[in-house]
């Protein structure tokens, strides 16, 4: 026992030191941003300490008071845009994904395999690669600089992931349930809506959160496609506070903190589904 214990203890200490370093690497930048959000001054302080020496809410006041060319409150306007874009992307993306995933999981039809492979391949392209073609397409159909256009673009990027995740989830649900429902007299739509969809809730939670986050956090496309200041989303607004000639890091940090709050709340509420949802299919439960 004694022989065994020493190496184990050393191993445990080493493992924990490593874990602490990793956690620090992950959390430190976030803590610096939080520190800046509550610290007076426009510039990042030179101090490496993540604890602010002085606390102020000025940056948040400035953020909320920032006004556009017509005197409108920019933050509220952009927060509203972000919420609309993120919710619409979630609803649209999940609605399309869950029906597609169910069909791909349960029915056999020509083009099924090709479709699934295409979804996977599309995922492999970096989003920036699609910027130019998407810009051209949106311009052609007159959806440039519009919330609808942005929702459409976000949905197309979120849907392949959602379809694959949900298909995996539907695959793990026993077929007998559908057969029992068919014998009970349920139509395919009824089986989908009243049996499969309620059972796929954890999978839906994961995909909904993913769609929401994709739309909520996205910056490059929103910055490229939205030319009118009144149609910016929050990431674009936050970025605009740090320009080439003047930078207000306090404003930037306050914006970043505020923007993270809805995603954190969503994570907190949905966390019990998240673990179950992501591991579903690995072990049939």
């Amino acid at each position: 026992m004694a022989m065994n214990r020493k190496p184990r203890l050393a191993f445990l200490i080493a493992a924990h030191v490593l874990l602490i370093v990793v956690v620090a690497v992950v959390l430190y930048p976030v803590m610096l941003v939080c520190k800046k959000a509550f610290e007076p001054g426009r510039d990042f302080a030179l101090s490496a300490s993540p604890i602010p020496t002085d606390v102020t809410l000025d940056h948040f006041h400035d953020l909320f008071d920032k006004r556009g060319g017509h005197g409108e409150l920019l933050f509220l306007r952009h927060a509203f845009n972000s919420i609309i874009v993120a919710l619409a992307t979630t609803v649209f993306g999940v609605a399309i994904s869950c029906t597609a995933a169910y069909a791909l999981s349960r029915f056999r039809f020509p083009g099924r395999k090709a479709g699934l492979t295409t979804f996977l391949v599309v995922q492999m392209f970096p989003a920036t690669l699609l910027l130019l073609p998407l810009y051209v397409i949106l311009n052609k159909i007159g959806l440039l600089n519009s919330i609808t256009g942005l929702v459409l673009v976000y949905s197309t990027t979120a849907i392949p992931f959602c379809v694959w995740t949900l298909k995996g989830y539907f695959d793990s649900l026993p077929r007998e349930l559908e057969e029992a429902a068919r014998i009970d007299g349920a139509s395919t739509w009824m089986i989908f809506r009243r049996i499969m969809l309620p059972l796929a809730r954890p999978g839906l939670a994961v995909t909904a959160l993913f769609s929401f986050m994709t739309a909520w956090n996205e910056f490059i496309m929103a910055d490229t496609f939205m030319t009118d200041e009144s149609k910016y989303t929050l990431p674009v607004l936050i970025n605009s506070s740090v320009g080439a000639f003047s930078a207000d890091y306090g404003l930037f940090a306050a914006g970043a903190v505020i923007t993270s709050v809805p995603v954190m709340i969503a994570f907190y509420v949905l966390q019990k589904y998240l673990v179950g949802g992501l591991t579903a299919g690995a072990v049939k439960g």
Partner: protein, 364 residues
């Protein structure tokens, strides 16, 4: 009450050349319980699923109550099915599970409540109506699954190995429950199992299947007492029937079966028609309970050594190595035979089953 009739049913799965069911004709008379029994992969579940409408036959017709339902979806066949895995809707309560089918039929709420309550009462489920399936034991879940079938009051009940997931004691209880429900409702039923005890105790009619072909169709007593071939004879009965190879011998008026170390007179067996008179190979079948260690009347003896002794409580099972092959003997627990003893096993010539040694079909 509705008769179920399968005519010329053939089932071939895509990409598999050999049919699961080559050509099957079967009639389940109205109000009877037909038990389809056979080893894994014999096509019994496939047959049931075709009656349910969950699988489409490659050829042939299925009719229920004289109506051709071959092309109809399950919902329009007026059947209810109980699955091995229960297949209860996990997100619904017991009440909702049982009411689901009636809700889809848009029955009035009062009628739904009345029918579900009646089924719940008969199955002892009243206390669990508000529970979800995951809060129930295996036996209770299967009761709910049966209840869900019963409330629909269908023309035909289909059971797909409903008791296979239960432990031995519960299986016995549920078997009696199903028998009671069938006795009361007199609904035509088809029941798939690989358990011969379920088949023997529940069936009005047993259908023994092998490789998609009906080996024998008859009452439990028929199947046990007059098995149509060696497969059926070996499938029913625990322990299995003993089989001994023998030659058909004629000596004047006397006919006998002679094997290694024994000769059984077949005087009373008229009209023996082996497939080929030239070879005249026989297969003698005798059930372990018809072998004895003490002689009775005209018994014939085979000597052998006790190779294994299994104590079952009220009785013991001896495995005796004899020149004719291994013999299984079911005998009294008081039997003095011990491991390694040389014993004489006595068999009653009237109790043997005769099969053709080549075709394995029953003779006489």
């Amino acid at each position: 009450m509705s008769e179920v009739q399968l005519t010329g049913i053939r089932k071939v799965y895509d990409g598999v050349s050999r049919p699961v069911i080559p050509d099957l004709d079967l009639t389940v008379p109205a109000g009877q319980m037909a038990v389809l029994v056979g080893p894994s992969g014999c096509g019994k579940s496939t047959t049931l699923r075709m009656v349910a409408g969950l699988e489409e036959p490659t050829a042939g017709t299925i009719s229920i109550g004289g109506r051709d339902v071959t092309q109809l979806p399950p919902a329009e066949r007026d059947i209810a099915m109980v699955f091995q895995s229960y297949a209860l809707y996990p997100h619904m309560t017991v009440f909702e599970n049982m009411a689901f089918g009636l809700r889809i039929q848009h029955r009035p709420e009062a009628e739904i409540r009345r029918r579900v309550m009646a089924a719940a009462e008969s199955l002892g489920l009243e206390a669990y109506l508000e529970r979800r399936p995951k809060a129930l034991s295996g036996g209770q879940r299967q009761r709910v699954a049966i209840g869900r079938a019963v409330v629909r009051e269908p023309k035909v009940f289909l059971f797909d190995e409903p008791l296979s997931n239960l432990d031995a004691k519960l299986r016995g209880d549920m078997r009696r429950e199903i028998a009671r429900i069938h006795r009361q409702s007199k609904t035509t039923s088809m029941y798939v199992t690989h358990d011969q005890i379920e088949a023997m105790t529940l069936a009005d009619l047993i259908v023994v299947l092998k490789d998609g072909v009906i080996q024998q169709l008859g009452t439990p007593v028929d199947i046990y007492e007059r098995p149509a071939n060696r497969f059926v004879a070996g499938f029913f009965g625990t322990p299995s029937m003993n089989f001994l190879a023998a030659d058909l011998m004629h000596a004047g008026e006397r006919t006998s079966a002679r094997g290694k170390g024994f000769e059984i007179p077949l005087v009373t067996r008229a009209a023996l028609r082996p497939a080929s008179a030239a070879t005249a190979k026989l297969m003698i079948g005798i059930r372990p309970e018809r072998l004895s260690l003490t002689p009775l009347g005209d018994d014939v003896a085979v000597s052998g050594e006790v190779a294994m002794r299994e104590v079952l409580g009220a009785e013991i099972v001896l495995h005796v190595d004899s020149p004719a092959g291994s013999l299984t003997v079911r005998t009294d627990a008081a039997s003095p035979a011990r491991l390694g003893d040389t014993v004489k096993v006595w068999l009653d010539p009237m109790a043997v089953h005769l099969f053709d040694g080549t075709t394995e079909l029953r003779l006489s």
